[in-house]
Homo-oligomer: 79 residues x 2
């Protein structure tokens, strides 16, 4: 079973990477970009076969390692 | 209009970040993780209102800045 986790900075937390990308796009002539946020995506191949169990396990991984829940939010997708 | 871009290393390209995450999960007691790949997710707020035009513009951004197409693949989602 495959899981995909998105880890993004929470709304309101300054995102310097996103700002840098926005600025770089501007200097390359891409107008029309209002905002950019950058985050991580983590794809996991799991041996689990039960969808609910896999999702719960990945949530624990996020809480313990994959996301810093003080400033980041995560979103789990089982595919 | 919002666009979400996933940038992942191409299959076959060594992913040391993913390997590090896999190893760390193992040491934390998460067995059952076969493979981990880590990539970037970039969320863009665009002024464009035409879906096809927005997608083409974001593809140009990927080719020019957001992805290193020698080793990375990208995937655009207009939301």
């Amino acid at each position: 079973m495959k899981a995909r986790v998105h880890v993004m900075l929470k709304t309101g937390v300054l995102d310097p990477q996103g700002e840098a990308v926005k600025h770089a796009l501007g200097t390359l002539g891409f107008t029309g970009v209002e905002a950019v946020r950058q985050g991580k995506v983590i794809e996991l191949d799991l041996t689990a076969t039960d969808r609910a169990a896999a999702e719960a396990e990945v949530a624990r991984m996020c809480e313990k390692l994959l996301a810093n829940t003080v400033i980041e939010k995560y979103d789990i997708e089982i595919v």
